[in-house]
C-alpha cells in the first residue's frame, strides 16, 4: 500500500477506513518523557522526532492565568475561578473557589474573550509547521469548564437536582463561548476538534443519563454539528466506564471515542465489535500500570492485542489509555510506538 502522510493516516482512521498503518498520537505527553527521549526538544520537535501522527493543542493551555500566590501556585483562571497547580501534574489546576457562587454572580458574569488572538498563537505556529503533513488537533471542554471553573463539581452536581434551570443557564452561557472558540480554532487551521471533558468514572457515568442528556450532550452536539458543517471531524474523550454513554456519544455524531479506558474495565474488542462501524476507536494501552511499570515485552504484547482486536479494517488509532503522563517510562512509550509501527502495517499480519 502507498505510504500516507500522518494527516492522511489519521483522517482515514477517523473516517473508519483502512490507512497504510495504524496511526498514533497522544492527548498529552509529559515534558519529562519528552526530555528523556529527545533532550532539549520542544513538543513539536518531539512529534517530528518520534514521527507521531498528530499534534494536540489544549484549550486549557491557552488560558491566561493571573498569579495570586506564586509560592503556593495559586492562580485565577480566565473564567474567574481560583485554582491551585500541584506542580507535578499536567498543568490542569484544581479548583479552590468557583467563579459563580450564586445566581447573582451569574447575572453579573462576564465571559472571557474567545476571540483573543494570543489564544491561537500556538495553533498558528503548528499550522505553519505541520499543515498537510500531520493532523493538528485542538481540544475543547465545555462541561469541564462548567464543572471545574464556573460552578465547582459538588455544587454543579447538586444543582442538577435542586436547581436544574440554573445549570441550563450555565450551559447556555457557555454554548455561545464555545461556538465562537471552535469557529476560531477551525479558522486558524485545525484539522480535528477533540472534546475532552470526563463524564464518567471507573464504575460508570458521573451523572444519570437524563442529566447527561439535558446538561451535557446538547452542547456537545452543537460543537459536533458545527465541526461537521465545516468538514472537520470531532472526537470525544472521556475516562471511565462509558458503556452506558456510548449510544449518546454516537447520537451526538462524534466521529471517534478515546480512550476505551482499560483501568475502568473497558474492553477494546467489545468496543470495536459494538461501535466500530460508527466510531473510530482510540486508545486502550494502559498507562496506569503497564506503561509506567510494565516490561517492554508486556507493552509490545498489549499493543499487539489492541491492534488485533481493534485494527481490523481500519478505524483504530493506537494510543495510551489516557495520556503519556510523568510516571510513564520513556522507554516503554518508545517501545509502544515501535510496536505500533511494527505490528500496525496494513494488511495486518496479526491473527
Amino acid at each position: 500500500m502507498q505510504t500516507l502522510t500522518s494527516l492522511e493516516r489519521i483522517m482515514k482512521a477517523v473516517h473508519l477506513q483502512e490507512p497504510d498503518m495504524v496511526p498514533t498520537f497522544e492527548i498529552d505527553i509529559d515534558e519529562r518523557v519528552i526530555e528523556a527521549l529527545k533532550p532539549g526538544a520542544v513538543y513539536e520537535d518531539f512529534i517530528d522526532y518520534m514521527d507521531i501522527d498528530a499534534a494536540c493543542y489544549h484549550e486549557t493551555r491557552t488560558d491566561s492565568y493571573e498569579v495570586l500566590d506564586k509560592e503556593k501556585r495559586i492562580v485565577r483562571d480566565q473564567w474567574g475561578a481560583v485554582k491551585k497547580f500541584s506542580g507535578v501534574s499536567f498543568g490542569i489546576p484544581m479548583l479552590l473557589e468557583p467563579a459563580i457562587k450564586s445566581k447573582d454572580d451569574l447575572k453579573k458574569y462576564k465571559l472571557p474573550d474567545p476571540d483573543r488572538p494570543e489564544r491561537f498563537n500556538r495553533i498558528k505556529d503548528a499550522v505553519k509547521r505541520f499543515k498537510g503533513k500531520r493532523a493538528i488537533i485542538a481540544t475543547v471542554r465545555p462541561f469541564a469548564t462548567m464543572r471545574d471553573s464556573l460552578r465547582g463539581q459538588d455544587e454543579l452536581f447538586k444543582d442538577m437536582i435542586r436547581d436544574p434551570e440554573f445549570v441550563d443557564s450555565l450551559d447556555h452561557l457557555l454554548r455561545g463561548y464555545y461556538g465562537r472558540l471552535v469557529k476560531n480554532l477551525i479558522d486558524a487551521g485545525v484539522d480535528i476538534v477533540l472534546e475532552t471533558a470526563d463524564i464518567a468514572f471507573t464504575n460508570g457515568p458521573m451523572v444519570a443519563l437524563k442529566h447527561q442528556s439535558r446538561f451535557i450532550f446538547p452542547a456537545l452536539k452543537e460543537i459536533v454539528d458545527y465541526c461537521h458543517s465545516r468538514g472537520i471531524p470531532c472526537l470525544k474523550h472521556t475516562d471511565g466506564n462509558i458503556w452506558a454513554l456510548m449510544d449518546l456519544i454516537v447520537e451526538a455524531g462524534f466521529d471517534g471515542i478515546h480512550p476505551i479506558d482499560p483501568v475502568a474495565g473497558m474492553d477494546i474488542g467489545e468496543a470495536k465489535d459494538k461501535y466500530g462501524e460508527k466510531l473510530c476507536i482510540m486508545g486502550n494501552v494502559d498507562c496506569g500500570n503497564l506503561l509506567s511499570w510494565g516490561s517492554k515485552e508486556e507493552v509490545r504484547d498489549t499493543v499487539k492485542d489492541c491492534i488485533r482486536k481493534a485494527g481490523k479494517g481500519g478505524g483504530y488509532i493506537c494510543m495510551s489509555g489516557n495520556s503519556i503522563h510523568g510516571a510513564v517510562s520513556p522507554d516503554n512509550y518508545a517501545e509502544m510506538i515501535r510496536a505500533i509501527r511494527e505490528y500496525g502495517k496494513y494488511p495486518l499480519s496479526l491473527a
Binding site: 506542580g87 501534574s89 496506569g288
Partner: protein
C-alpha cells in the same frame, strides 16, 4: 418506639430539610443520638452506597444524600460527643502530595461518616509529613491515602516510611485507594488494606479496627 424509616428515606432521597425535621422530631422524642445514627442514618448511607455502586444513582444523588446525612449528624453531634466513645472509629484521610483529585476521597468520607466514623479530611496535595503531623496530634485508628495519578502513587510508600521513622506506624492502620491502585501495590508498599471503592473502604476500616 420511634420509627426512623422516614429519616432513612429522606437521606436516601437527598431531602435536607426533611432529614433535619425528622432528626429533630426523633431527638425531641428522646430517641438516643446513637440509635438515630445506627438505625436511621447508617441504613440510609448503606443503601445509598450500594445504589451508587450498582449504578442506580449517580454523583448528584449521592452528594444530595450526603448533605442530608451531614445535616442530621450535625444535630446528633452534641449528644454523640458528650457521651464519649460512640464513634465507630477515627480516621484521617487525604489525597497524597502532587495529586489534586478529591471525588473518590470525598465519597469515602461520606460513607465513613454515614457509618459512624469521625473523619478528619486533610484535603488534597497532602505531603507525607502532614499526615505524620496529624497522626501525632490525634489518636487515629485509620489513615486513608488516596491517589488518582500513577505518578503520585510513590507518595504512599513515602508516607508509610515517614510514619515508620516517626515510630507511628504501629499506632495506625493504613488503607490506600484510587483508580490506578490494586491489592498487589498495597501489599508491596506495606499498607494494611486496599479498598476498591467507598463501600469497601468502610468494610476494610471496620475489619481493621476490630482485629
Amino acid at each position: 418506639m420511634f420509627n426512623l424509616d422516614e429519616l432513612t428515606n429522606s437521606v436516601v432521597d437527598g431531602q435536607v430539610a426533611k432529614a433535619v425535621e425528622t432528626t429533630q422530631k426523633a431527638l425531641s422524642a428522646q430517641v438516643p443520638a446513637k440509635e438515630i445514627l445506627d438505625n436511621g442514618l447508617l441504613p440510609a448511607m448503606n443503601r445509598v452506597g450500594s445504589d451508587f455502586e450498582s449504578g442506580e444513582i449517580f454523583l448528584p444523588e449521592l452528594l444530595m444524600a450526603g448533605d442530608a446525612m451531614k445535616a442530621s449528624i450535625e444535630l446528633l453531634k452534641p449528644e454523640l460527643t458528650s457521651k464519649g466513645a460512640t464513634y465507630a472509629g477515627k480516621c484521617v484521610i487525604g489525597t497524597v502530595e502532587g495529586d489534586l483529585h478529591d471525588i473518590g476521597k470525598n465519597i469515602v468520607i461520606l460513607m465513613l461518616e454515614g457509618n459512624g466514623w469521625e473523619v478528619t479530611d486533610l484535603g488534597i496535595d497532602v505531603p507525607p509529613q502532614r499526615f505524620c503531623d496529624e497522626i501525632k496530634k490525634g489518636s487515629y485508628d485509620i489513615v486513608g491515602l488516596s491517589s488518582l495519578l500513577t505518578f503520585t502513587m510513590p507518595k504512599m510508600p513515602e508516607t508509610i516510611n515517614i510514619l515508620k521513622e516517626a515510630g507511628l506506624r504501629d499506632k495506625v492502620k493504613v488503607i490506600v485507594g484510587g483508580v490506578p491502585l490494586n491489592q498487589s501495590f498495597a501489599d508491596q508498599i506495606g499498607a494494611d488494606a486496599y479498598a476498591r471503592d467507598a463501600v469497601e473502604a468502610v468494610v476494610k476500616a471496620r475489619e481493621l479496627v476490630n482485629k
